[in-house]
């Protein structure tokens, strides 16, 4: 078996377009995961059971069911009740909600790691609850979970091939489409793998920089 460099080179533009689509879905999904995950983490600390319990149930439910099933649900079932979203919106929301259930756990661990004395000092100064969260607790909780959040960015990106089932033309869709015509799967999948690897390394780089910066600041 020989590796056809020309075929690999020829498929690169289409695969790069697929990669751009995947990155778009991943970026949107990650923003949703970061924001919604924080929301879940805060709601799960609510003093009101009627807030805490439904959120806990939803988080457990989403985390315990496959992303693929959730994507199918969003893409095929929601339109039957009148909610129609574009494929990209569906993909971003699917990835975002799924990963929000993981990032919420990460935030929770970070918040739990803030010493009780910090909450007590905030109370002793009569700081409002909002101020305590935004100026005292989260600025201490978030930096320590940046590496874990960054790892989920990479994991989320690596789940973008699943978006192929909802017609998003990401990298794997391109591999399938081009491969079904020229059958040069070795070259196509190799190039796709290299693109995934390079992208994952690029995503990891700022995470490592931030991690080092926060470690230096907290030293």
């Amino acid at each position: 078996m020989t590796f056809d460099w020309q075929a690999a080179w020829g498929a690169a533009p289409a695969l790069l377009r697929g990669l751009a689509t995947a990155l778009q879905a991943a970026a949107l999904g990650y923003v949703i995961a970061l924001v919604l995950g924080l929301g879940f983490a805060l709601l799960r600390r609510s003093g009101r059971r009627w807030v805490r319990l439904p959120v806990a149930f939803f988080v457990e439910f989403v985390r315990s069911t496959p992303l693929l099933v959730q994507l199918f649900f969003l893409f095929f079932v929601l339109p039957t009740v009148g909610i129609e979203l574009s494929a990209m919106a569906t993909g971003a929301i699917g990835l975002g909600v799924h990963y929000a259930t993981y990032t919420s756990e990460v935030y929770r661990a970070g918040i739990d790691g803030v010493p009780a004395g910090q909450w007590e000092a905030a109370k002793a100064l009569s700081l409002s609850r909002g101020r305590t969260w935004t100026r005292v607790v989260l600025p201490q909780a978030v930096p320590r979970v940046v590496p874990a959040l960054g790892n989920y960015a990479i994991a989320l990106f690596k789940d973008t091939p699943q978006l192929t089932v909802i017609t998003i033309a990401e990298v794997l869709s391109v591999v399938k489409a081009v491969g079904s015509q020229n059958f040069q799967y070795l070259e196509l999948i190799t190039v796709a793998g290299v693109l995934y690897l390079i992208t994952a390394l690029v995503i990891a780089w700022p995470v490592r920089v931030l991690e080092r910066r926060y470690r230096r600041e907290s030293a």
């Binding site: 010493p115 100064l125 101020r131 100026r135 201490q140 907290s218």
Partner: protein, 258 residues
């Protein structure tokens, strides 16, 4: 006799099977400096934590400046206080903790200005002027831009004292503020507190094992044992001629320790 600013009326507290406060009643006058002494677990810190609303009593009432601390009026009835009432009541009081509890993500100046700006509504300039004055008083005028992690324990505790005073509280609670410090750094902090006692018209409740400091600054010393006050007297009287055997025994053990 000064008016009573703080009143505990038959306050009880248990942690599991342990009775921490046993039907405790006492009062503290406005401007009075009271030191709470006694063995570990006798309820001293719990009293400060209750005044700071960090711990709720199981029974009894606590009154601060004439208002019930953990209850509020709804019509004619007294009901358990909501967060809004607790926040309003906290404005009377601040606390300095054993472990300093400075905000590690804020520089020294910001630690001291944060609450005056956002709780008292001072302008940034007013708060900074107040903070600079207080940090100068505690000997840290040259460390305004440092992070807490760049300061010694004694320096951190002095910032914590400045931070508490910046709120201009009616009541300053000091919870074993030198226990985590070695003797030299503890002496620095106690000197600052002597200054505070001289300069500020603030009611002070202090839990400490630093008996010389207690003698210097207190108007009254309360000896606690098993959740009750067993002796209450001016410091000279309590330290020089304790009436209760348990007080004598406790003072002997503290002197031996130091």
């Amino acid at each position: 006799m000064t008016a009573e600013l703080i009143a505990f009326d038959r306050v009880g507290k248990r942690f599991g099977d342990a009775v921490v406060l046993d039907d405790l009643s006492f009062g503290v006058g406005a401007g009075e400096r009271v030191t709470l002494i006694g063995p570990s677990g006798s309820g001293k810190t719990t009293i400060l934590r209750m005044l700071m609303t960090l711990t709720r009593p199981d029974s009894g009432t606590i009154t601060v400046a004439g208002e019930p601390l953990f209850h509020e009026k709804r019509g004619d009835a007294l009901v358990p206080a909501g967060e809004q009432h607790l926040r309003a009541m906290r404005r009377h009081t601040t606390m300095v903790f054993q472990q300093y509890n400075l905000f590690p993500n804020m520089r020294v100046l910001r630690n001291v200005t944060e609450a005056p700006v956002h709780v008292l509504g001072l302008s940034a300039d007013e708060a900074e002027e107040r903070a600079r004055g207080l940090l100068d008083m505690v000997g840290l005028a040259d460390r305004l831009d440092a992070y807490p992690s760049q300061l010694s324990g004694g320096q951190q505790q002095r910032v914590a004292i400045a931070r508490a005073l910046a709120m201009r509280p009616d009541v300053l609670l000091l919870d074993e503020v030198t226990s985590a410090l070695d003797p030299e750094l503890a002496a620095e902090v106690l000197d600052v507190l002597r200054d505070v006692a001289r300069t500020f018209d603030v009611t002070m409740l202090c839990v400490t094992h630093a008996m010389k400091f207690a003698r210097d600054v207190s108007d009254r010393v309360l000896m606690f044992n098993e959740g009750r006050i067993i002796e209450s007297a001016p410091p000279d009287e309590l330290f020089d001629a304790p009436k209760h055997d348990r007080t004598r025994q406790f003072l002997r053990s503290v002197i031996e320790e130091s």
